[in-house]
């Protein structure tokens, strides 16, 4: 048996040598890239350490956190939470539409190409860019934040949904079509049941991402806890800023635990019906 499977030794040695060279080459290229970028960006390794210690000494201004401001933080924290909570369902709904339109096994080419295009462009746009554009158009406030997060979800969820639909066994779709079902009935009875659990799990995960993003977007003009943090920093009220950081941590961490729990449940129970 071993005789039949063994490769002539010379070939094996050459093969190993080639593989070793490839690893060395890749490592060298990677190293050159890192060093080159560091030089170009003027990364100052020597000045970094003293700077770090100085930064640590600044940290003491942040303590103790200003517990007295907690009451004022609850409102903004809720705004941040609501931003994500309102934006995610809209994003999910949009993603379902774009996902269906972008799936090769459901939608015709004239619809698929633009749908996939929108999804790809959206994914390429950082949320901050979208928000700044929307703030310019709609003014400052939570509304452009909601729209930004909703649109932002499509880049990820739409893509995942479309890909999941394309994974469905074509014969199952065919067999439901063979009872005379319409395209929408096929979606309802063959497509959605098969992809819903994983899609819901992704949607819940996206809520988590949206919550973190809404903190950040808050600072740029959407309001909420991010704005509180930014204001406190600008006024050099570091203890207050620390309180905002703690509230943010509690918010995001809590949401993460809940989302983990829900996701596991959805995947185990096969989704909601």
């Amino acid at each position: 048996m071993s005789a039949a499977l063994s490769i002539p030794t010379a070939t094996a040695r050459a093969d190993r040598a080639r593989r070793a060279w490839r690893i060395v080459l890749a490592a060298t290229l990677m190293g050159a890239l890192v060093v080159g970028s560091a030089i170009l960006c003027r990364v100052d390794v020597v000045g970094f350490l003293p700077g770090l210690f100085q930064g640590l000494s600044v940290l003491r201004f942040f303590f103790p956190p200003d517990v007295g401001s907690l009451a004022e933080m609850v409102g903004p924290a809720l705004v941040t939470l609501l931003l994500a909570a309102v934006a995610t369902p809209f994003g999910v709904a949009l993603s379902i539409l774009f996902g269906l339109a972008g799936a090769a096994n459901l939608s015709p080419a004239w619809l698929r190409a633009p749908a996939r295009g929108v999804i790809a462009v959206e994914r390429a746009l950082p949320e901050i860019v979208v928000l700044l554009l929307l703030v310019a158009a709609l003014g400052v406030g939570p509304f452009p934040g909601v729209v930004t997060l909703a649109i932002g979800s499509v880049g990820m969820l739409g893509r995942l949904f479309a890909d999941a639909i394309e994974e469905i066994d074509a014969r199952v779709i065919e067999s439901v079509a063979c009872v005379g079902a319409s395209r929408w009935q096929v979606v309802r009875y063959a497509v959605l049941p098969e992809v819903m659990p994983s899609f819901l799990a992704n949607a819940i995960f996206r809520f988590e991402i949206n919550l973190r993003a809404s903190v950040l977007l808050g600072a740029v003009g959407a309001g909420g806890i991010g704005l509180e943090l930014q204001k406190a920093m600008a006024l050099l009220e570091y203890e207050r800023a620390m309180m905002a950081v703690l509230v943010t941590l509690a918010l995001v961490f809590g949401a993460e635990r809940i989302s983990d729990f829900l996701r596991r449940r959805v995947l185990e129970k096969g989704g909601l019906r």
Binding site: V172, E174, S175, V176, V179, G180, S182, R188, P193, E194
Partner: protein, 279 residues
């Protein structure tokens, strides 16, 4: 009644897959299609269902009330109307694995209820009771609430038959319904299909001549895209040899050869050594 008339289908490279297939299936018949792999059996069914577009020829379904459907040329709403009259059973069962068994049976009637109602899972109690009845007919009523993906192959094929029954079709089409099943399950499925044919004609593609000889009322044999036999289900050895050629031994011995006794020398990898191997 199903009339298939000179169905023709070629590949873009000119290879002829169907070369003028014609036959008729009438009331009370259980027609089995036999033929070597690649002869065009399943493709004929796909053309009848409109899943594959035939190049020429026609397939027509005539309802007991005289209404007729041009199966090969209809599209859109007409095609759905035609398809709802044909209950299809596939080799791979092709059920929606995450739905309950009962929901899969309900799918059979999607084309017969209002679209809005179907979107809201709005099946009536009477329809649900009828679906359970269909499951009872295939002895699967106790599985109604199970998730379909947890069933075995034989069980899924029964559910697929229940779905087709619940559809109330005027023709049953079965595309190699027992090819993926073990002998005892195959026998059970044939025993379910046979009584159906008394009220609704059944047209099925099969691989086992001994099954079609035992259960069918008529056999059609297809070879290289053409009908070479259409008649009584019991075929002689010479006729089968003519239909299957080199594949005959494989067909007459449906169960795989027993595994070699433990401890014996594993055979050489013959496939790699044969001079005419494609690679």
């Amino acid at each position: 009644m199903l009339h298939v008339d000179r169905l023709t289908k070629s590949l873009p490279d000119g290879r002829v897959l169907l070369n003028g297939i014609s036959f008729t299936v009438s009331r009370g018949e259980f027609v089995g299609i036999l033929g070597a792999s690649g002869a065009g059996k399943s493709l004929t069914l796909r053309c009848i269902l409109g899943l594959t577009k035939a190049d020429a020829g026609s397939a027509r379904l005539v309802e007991p009330d005289g209404r007729s459907f041009e199966l090969t040329s209809c599209t859109g709403r007409n095609q759905r109307e035609a398809r709802r009259r044909m209950g299809v059973i596939f080799q791979g069962f092709n059920l929606v694995k995450r739905l309950r068994v009962l929901d899969n049976v309900m799918i059979g009637r999607l084309a017969q209820i209002h679209p809005l109602r179907s979107w809201l899972y709005g099946f009536t109690d009477a329809e649900a009771e009828e679906a359970v009845q269909a499951l009872r007919q295939v002895k699967m009523e106790t599985y109604a609430d199970r998730v379909t993906g947890s069933l075995s192959g034989g069980e899924m094929q029964r559910v697929a038959i229940a779905r087709a029954i619940f559809q109330r079709p005027s023709l049953f089409l079965a595309d190699e319904p027992i090819a993926a099943l073990d002998p005892s399950n195959s026998l059970a499925i044939m025993k379910l299909l046979q009584p159906l044919s008394r009220t609704t004609p059944v047209l099925g593609v099969f691989h086992q001549p001994e099954m079609t000889a035992r259960f069918c009322t008529r056999v059609i044999a297809i070879k290289r895209g053409a009908v070479v036999y259409d008649g009584a289900p019991g075929l002689s050895h010479a006729e089968l040899e003519e239909i299957y050629g080199d594949e005959l031994m494989q067909v007459l011995r449906p169960t795989p050869p027993a595994a070699p006794p433990a401890g014996s020398e594993p055979g050489p990898a013959v496939g790699l050594l044969l001079p005419n191997h494609p690679s």
